[in-house]
């Protein structure tokens, strides 16, 4: 089988060589071949030995870490849909419905995004970078389950082209491409990205359950609950207890609802050392350091402050997309800072900004997306100053 596959590629390689019929799409050929085989290229220079870790392994570890939120997202989308539509809540029925909702979104994201990757790689004559495998899966997991497929296509196109390729491709982008795509959809088609109706797919139009259904997310509930100190009770009234928010069986973007699943992913990423734990812990610290003073302040001067501040800070960690964002999005090494202290500051600022946007900005119930994109812009600056400080300690050579 292996031998035959190897021969299959060897026999077809000649069509993709320079001056041959398919020379233009050689990156596509190489992407497929190197998926099956790590190439046999030996070192040309010293050092003569190399580490076994390459970008394929690195990115597939991130994919592995994305599996828990992905599967839970599939289940939850089906569950919410069946619940709202008054259909069977049997596990298989729910999961199959979830597959029907989520798989098309992922397929469009990968298909359209991959097209752009191949196009740019062919024009630039370089290989396709594995980074897209992650972008193409992250993007759909941040979308509401009801997202029209054409918008998925438009969003991933924007993300790949304007978030990455026009700056020179992987490694040269300063924004997270998946979030850039999401931000584009968020501002271009707010009707499909926010509100109460987008989080749950209703099947069977006339079902009575659907009419009575309100699909508000916990963040929306906490933002609109008018008076002081009732945020928690309005959350509980809407069915959002802390354990429920932690486990994630509530309406929201496909992959973001379960903090537990994200924690499993974080565990994989930290144990393998693939993503920066500094950014993740910095983010958590940022949330707590911002929400706690407000929370304490609120206990004394409640009536005159912003009602959402009365929510216990721990809720901010489990609600909405914070866990997903700080674990998978903020840790994208290209758009995050490269220096360790900067990573702490970057993570901390994302956490702090998330809370500030959630609490003080009435226009956006969720803040993690804008917080990450905003801090993406600052990461070169953070790096710059940390490097400058570090270089001052060196004994100069010249």
């Amino acid at each position: 089988m292996m031998k035959r596959l190897s021969k299959f590629f060897d026999a077809r390689r000649k069509h993709f060589e320079d001056g041959k019929k398919f020379e233009k799409i050689r990156p596509l050929f190489e992407a497929i071949e190197t998926f099956f085989f790590i190439p046999g290229n030996a070192t040309q220079n010293h050092p003569h030995v190399r580490d076994s870790l390459d970008l394929k392994r690195l990115m597939s570890t991130v994919i592995l870490a994305l599996i828990p939120p992905l599967f839970f997202g599939i289940y939850n989308s089906g569950y919410q849909s069946n619940l709202a539509s008054g259909l069977s809540l049997n596990f298989m029925a729910v999961f199959v419905n979830g597959l029907w909702i989520v798989i098309p979104v992922i397929m469009v994201s990968y298909g359209v995004g991959f097209f752009w990757e191949v196009l740019f790689a062919s024009i630039r004559k370089h290989n396709i970078s594995e980074g897209f495998l992650v972008t193409g899966l992250l993007f759909p997991l941040t979308l509401p389950p009801t997202i029209p497929l054409w918008q998925v296509a438009v969003g991933i196109s924007f993300g790949v082209i304007f978030g990455k390729e026009i700056f020179g491709g992987t490694g040269k982008n300063f924004l997270n491409p998946a979030l850039t795509g999401r931000a584009f959809l968020f501002f271009a088609y707010p009707g499909n990205m926010t509100g109460e109706r987008v989080w749950t797919v209703i099947s069977g139009m006339k079902s009575p359950a659907a009419d009575a259904f309100s699909g508000a997310t916990p963040l929306a509930v906490s933002a609109v609950s008018g008076a002081f100190n009732i945020v928690k009770s309005s959350l509980v009234n809407a069915g959002f207890t802390f354990p429920k928010l932690f486990f994630g069986a509530y309406p929201g973007s496909i992959g973001e609802t379960s903090a537990l699943m994200c924690l499993i992913g974080a565990f994989i990423l930290i144990v393998t050392g693939i993503a920066s734990y500094r950014i993740m812990f910095g983010g958590i610290l940022g949330v707590l350091a911002t929400a706690y003073p407000g929370y304490i302040f609120n206990q004394f001067y409640g009536n005159s402050s912003v009602p959402m501040l009365s929510l216990h800070p721990m809720y901010h960690l489990v609600m909405g997309g914070f866990a997903f964002g700080i674990i998978y999005m903020a840790t994208d090494p290209v758009s995050a800072p490269g220096m360790n202290t900067s990573r702490w500051i970057y993570g901390f600022s994302i956490g702090a900004l998330t809370v500030l946007i959630r609490v003080f900005n009435p226009a956006f119930p969720e803040g993690i997306m804008l917080a990450i994109l905003f801090m993406n812009l600052f990461s070169p600056l953070l790096d710059h100053y940390e490097i400058k400080a570090r270089l001052r300690k060196r004994v100069p050579n010249v």
Binding site: H48, D54, K56, T170, G171, R394
Partner: protein, 426 residues
Amino acid sequence: MEPLEKPAQVALLPEKIPFVKPRLKVKIGDKVKVGTPVFEDKRNSNLIFLSPGGGKIANIDLGPRRAIKRVVIALDQDEEYETFPIFTEAQLENIERKSLIKTIMTGGLWPLFRELPFRDVADPDAMPPCIIVSLGANEPFQPVPEAYLKGNIALFEFGIKILQKLSQNLIISTSSENSYVIEQLNTHVTHVCQGVYPAEDPGVLLYHIKKTQAENQTLFINGQDLLLVAMLLGTGKYPVARTVVLGGTLAREKKHFFTRIGVPLGHLTKGRTVNVDNSRYIVGGIFRGYSDKKDSYMGFYETSLVLIPEGNEKEFLGFARPGFNKPSRSRAFLSYFNKSLLPMDCNCHGEERACINCGSCAETCPVDILPQFTYKCILSDEIEEALAHGMLDCVECGLCTYVCPSKIELCDVIKNTKKAYYLEQL
């Protein structure tokens, strides 16, 4: 340690001596003695390289653009020796520094003194701020100091006397694992380095101890090479003895050999290899050395020969395997739990990609360079900035290239830029 019998031929490899532009002083068929000048440096005709054998010049191999690759000397049964002045310790006390350097240069061993940060042959006219003697580089498969010091302690101490004439400041460094050196040379050792490769490298040591800019032009010499210098002045003969290590998975016998400078690789490996097809001969260590053909020779500086598989085979679905025996610094493979020795080969284990700023290189750099940023400075021609980043402190250990998941030749980029910068200044 096993003494090897005399080889039929030895060679000099001018190409492998850094920055030297060789001008030949012999032609094919000439008779040479041990210590007859073979070539000189065009930059400084006093910098001469002597024949490591007595016999006839059998061959002069030229590479591309007529670069002199090798000068091969077929050895006579009874080799003749050129004679050099002999010094006793008392005479050494009274000799002037300048004439001592001249003696070492005429004796062909000045090139063993190298100058940081470019690792060129030391400038004989400059006064070095410091000389570092490193006893054993802890790169895998280099000779341990015990192998060449045993029975030569007095000679080594004579060598130290010579160095004391050359510089006021002498550093003798060894690794904390070399208990033999610490015991035997207790009074001489000034610095004990702790840590894995390349903690003992003179460049790394200098980086950690230097206080001023002037110290950058420190000289260094290997412990084994210092013995050669001591032998030259002590015996009046050009010394050719070398302790060499053969290692690697494809070497059946991994051990020290006592042989001579410029020995053929085949002489070292004869009958001691497994599966000679598709193997790589690495002269000078897996991190810093160069690969050479089986019919080549050991270089002037090199003391190690490593044989490992070329590893140019494809691997089916390699990225998805658990990787229980894949060596990696990262924790992304199950080999993290496998504490046994893992097989190494020369495969890149992936294709070159754009830098994703993961920072693995900076974590391994022994002299605190940020290779991921420094290399971007170099690519955008910001040489001033690269210099500020400490590009010249780079000890060319190759660890950044080793760990890079994007398979970028970081070390090569930095090394070549250093070289270009140096050549521009000459």
